[in-house]
Symmetry: C2
């Protein structure tokens, strides 16, 4: 079903298909890791229900009619929530449909292929660096900071020499963010946000990586310095609302501080994805970047993992192991 | 007094000063034209009352102790609402404090020095062209379209080959905007805004020049095409509110259509002002650009002109003739 308001388990149905015989250019993939992400909620209304739930997955090629993907290859695709799937390797309608080989993770968990070395990793890398263009010494704020993308953005900002403040929704998340190097993390559910941010960022905010939208973002944007940059990655605060929520307007701060706000979809940088993956793997191996995963086990638990992620139960990247 | 809510006549007082003798580097100016603009409302809280009301003016040098500005020169300064003033020509604390010679208007009214060939002109020219970067054939929307800046932006957009839609607050303004070449003008007070815009912009909106902020802007931004650009010049809808108003959030549209929104102050391009003036004068002389002025007469009527402008009574640039 298409979601109305907050999704429920009843919106999902598990269906068994008979897999067809492989045609030329197709591969049979046994899925090992499946991703659950906020954009799945946001994009629901674009499809006519019932539809196969899209999403990234890592899997092992078990049968192949494409010599570029021989049996035993690990691949990343957007084929979604299934335990086996047939992928047409020539399906290149859009970037998101293109199956690609899992990068050489040098011994790291293959699950990173849907996380820190997958779409969320490249989202954090390009969305932050290309749009915020952070300079060493600047103050960076991240909302949704304990999530898959936010936790990477904060750590990348530290690598680039910035002061980093994160907003998250629980004291446990706050504690973890400070452990992995955020200069300060703030529980937006319990803090006086404007005051806490003023204290944490006495020199004001230069860059803001926005995962949430809504009043939290308006408050942060109102504390930005002249020529501040905002990268808008998502608007989690609004995804489960049937009507567009309202928040304090941004225009006065935009004008008086000459701010720039830009939204993006990561596909914009699809042809540079290898560059991001190379850097991210290097940072993870050197210990500068610590990706954390929130792992749920079992195919039948994918919807539960998805609902938990929307409720903010995950710390780090929410993935499901099949 | 500093304004609280909508300004009133009682917030202003007319004071007589004895003008001091000129020192070296000073000029005595007899003021001829005084400007009233929305930013005067917005910036009020930055000053400790009582203060001399700032604002642009055009005047004639009557006495001079600076050979660069001999008697008889016409100058533009930010000395505000006065009938005579002494200007320190070496005051260069900020761009706005720099007095400069009125450009050669080739027979056009000197009042344009505080309008289409002054700060509002350069605001429209740079704020629109540099931030929206419009391309011929694109659809441009302007709010506050019948104001000093908005009416120029729409006409510049037409000169650049765009389709132009303006929002204004009365049927008379709508009529005038269509007379000067807007493809469509819409009365935002009476129209179903989303529907009227959809009809006027069947191919969607590529550029939006935002003078107002608030729900009108949220509605327009929600109808923008992928990679649309928004130039935020002002937020008139909020200036008379004591608390920041709320409106539908922009983040979902920003992300899904990869929009860019940027606020600006015109001083950013101060050193290129001559370029804007040259173009604007050329367009006015060729008849491609029709600047309209809303003239109030008499020094004592400046506050009334200001209040009328804030209420939207002006069509085109509001100026006062002394």
């Amino acid at each position: 079903k298409n979601f109305q308001g907050f999704p429920t388990r009843e919106d999902f149905d598990i269906v068994e298909y008979e897999l067809p015989a492989l045609k030329n250019g197709e591969i049979l993939v046994k899925v090992e890791w499946v991703s659950v992400d906020p954009y799945m909620r946001a994009y629901s209304s674009r499809y006519k229900a019932p539809y196969d739930q899209f999403g990234f997955q890592v899997g092992l090629v078990e049968d192949s009619k494409d010599p570029r993907f021989p049996v035993g290859t690990r691949v990343v695709s957007h084929k979604g929530w299934c335990d086996y799937c047939v992928i047409d390797t020539n399906d290149t309608k859009s970037e998101v449909d293109k199956v690609y080989k899992l990068p050489n993770l040098k011994g790291l968990s293959n699950s990173l292929g849907v996380g820190a070395v997958g779409m969320p990793g490249s989202t954090a890398y390009f969305g932050f660096l290309e749009i915020c263009k952070p300079k060493a010494g600047e103050t960076v704020v991240v909302s949704g900071a304990a999530g898959a993308v936010g936790s990477l953005v904060g750590q990348i900002a530290k690598i680039k020499g910035c002061r980093v403040i994160g907003f998250a929704g629980s004291d446990d998340k706050v504690k973890w963010l400070e452990e992995i190097g955020f200069d300060k993390a703030i529980n937006y559910k319990t803090a006086d946000i404007a005051a806490a941010l003023k204290e944490a960022a006495p020199k004001g905010v230069d860059c803001y990586f926005d995962n949430v939208g809504g009043e939290l973002s308006s408050t942060i944007i109102n504390q930005m310095n002249d020529f501040g940059r905002v990268s808008v990655c998502g608007a989690i605060s609004s995804y489960n609302e049937n009507n567009m929520p309202k928040a304090s307007i941004l225009q006065p701060a935009l004008v008086f501080h000459q701010l720039k706000i830009e939204g993006f979809l990561v596909w914009r940088w699809f042809d540079r994805q290898a560059e991001a993956f190379t850097e991210l793997i290097k940072w993870i191996q050197s210990g500068q970047l610590q990706p954390r995963e929130h792992i749920t086990e079992g195919f039948e638990n994918i919807p539960t993992a998805f609902l938990g992620m929307l409720k903010g139960e995950n710390v780090g990247k929410a993935v499901v192991k099949l």
